[in-house]
Amino acid sequence: MIKAQIALILLAPAFVFAQQPPRLAKDPGPFLETPPPDQGRGRGPKPVAGPAPHLADGRPDFGGDGAWYPGFSGNIAERQWKGVKSADRHVDVPFMPWALEVFNQRVESLSKDDPEARCQPVGVPRYMFDPYPFQIIQTRNQVVFLFEGDNYLWRVVPIGPGAAHPKNLKPTWLGDSIGHYEGDTLVVDVVGFNGRAWMDQAGHPQSEKQHLVERYTRTDSLTLKYEVTIDDPGAYTQTWAASNTVSWRPGLQLGESICQENEKDSRHMIGEVKPK
């Protein structure tokens, strides 16, 4: 009888918790009360889009004189985040309970523990949602991404029949990538993550089990459509997909960005808004 009572007491909180619908943390709101005027880099007369260029052998050409610029898309699953346009579409993210808890904690503490803010690699797929320009270089058997932020990193994607994920992968920030072309789309398969990067500034977590399939399509000379399928049985109950539209900035050159040089910001990230 006593045992049964204890069991009942122990079960009670779990029962109450189970009755509540999962709660998703809310958008913390705009960065600033009055948004600054658009100060996008590399601006000039508005460029006119032409057809998507191709290389001599027919592959889509992801390069040229300029750079890709994703803008700030702080939440890969929302169209609007922190007062500005975010990803291309809203997704009902199929969180596992722990992942939802982590996500909510990160959003509600204003992303104070964001590894990217501590000069760790931005990670994949976040590079396609963060406000750092990048270039894509295509050689015969590689696609190479050159990123300006956060630490001026590169990412190599081997292409072609010889490309395969190694058997014993050491988990890394950017994972291990292999790619191929499907018509005008570059398809990149990524595994081998260390689970430490955030998928966006909001804080969607990833686990070491994450498997991404990225699709890059230059739909016209100024537009890169990015689609990513996220298959992570360590954090999400089913596969889901996010997307973003990345703009080409003609003439934009990448600058040297060394985050850890004189880094003084992260100590001010305290996870709450101080009253004025």
Binding site: R118, C119, Q120, P121, I137, T139, Q142, V144, L146, N151, Y152, L153, W154, V156, P158, K170, T172, W173, L174, L254, E256, I258, C259, Q260, E261, S266
Partner: protein, 225 residues
């Protein structure tokens, strides 16, 4: 006489690199890439390697600084995960790759901070007043089979090598990359920095190619509090 001439000719022929053995791209230039990576040996003191010993023309302050740096590595910004700079990235035991594109050459470095570097090959000049940074501004051209890279616009926070050769913002580096065979490259670097050395000086080393090796992810930033 004829015999002596024959020896001379044969010596010249043997001394010259045999072009057929160097991989070449479609444009006829040496291919500095391939399936593998360049893997330098770790050479602490670039002025004192087995086949290249240099009497470095230090200015007095630079000598003092060099001795201090060598004795006390605590001043080394690279140990705090900042970029190693040029030419140090070629003297540390971290692999790198060279990608040749129509208008530029891109170096991908595993070491330091997993960074990359662009060398413009389209004939452009250095910017007039470059913002000093870790890797400088680099432009290049071919001299025969040698890639010549000219860099200026450095900040003064890197060391030229692990030993601690210092430099100032007036540093001007000329690097010469010559692939001498499928598995080897000769690297020569001219250090011209009137702020730290009384005249320019030249160091060199050989860099082996490791076929089949891939660059790996090396993130130095570590876990900061």
């Amino acid at each position: 006489m004829r015999y002596a001439l024959a020896i001379l000719i044969s010596a010249v022929v043997t001394a010259a690199p045999t072009p057929s053995k160097i991989p070449r791209g479609a444009d006829g230039k040496p291919d500095l890439g391939g399936d593998g990576v360049w893997f330098p040996l770790r050479l602490e003191d670039m002025a004192n390697v087995p086949d290249s010993k240099v009497d470095v023309p230090f200015l007095p302050w630079a000598k003092k600084m060099f001795d201090e740096n060598r004795a006390n590595k605590g001043n080394d910004t690279a140990s705090r995960c900042l970029p190693q700079g040029i030419p140090r990235l070629t003297y540390t035991a971290n692999a790198f790759q060279i990608l040749q594109l129509p208008n530029r050459i891109v170096f991908l470095y595993e070491g330091g901070t997993h960074i990359w570097r662009t060398v413009w090959m389209d004939g452009r000049a250095h910017p007039k007043d470059p913002n000093p940074d870790w890797l400088g501004d680099a432009v290049g051209h071919w001299e025969g089979d040698t890639l010549v890279v000219d860099s200026v616009g450095f900040n003064d926070r890197t060391w030229l090598d692990d030993a601690g050769h210092p430099h100032t913002e007036r540093l001007h580096v000329v690097e010469k990359y010559t692939r001498t065979g499928p598995l080897a490259m000769r690297y020569e670097v001219v250090i011209d920095d009137p702020g730290a050395y009384s005249q320019s000086w030249t160091a060199s080393t050989s860099i082996p190619f490791r076929p089949g090796v891939k660059l790996t992810e090396y993130v130095c930033t570590g876990d900061r509090p």
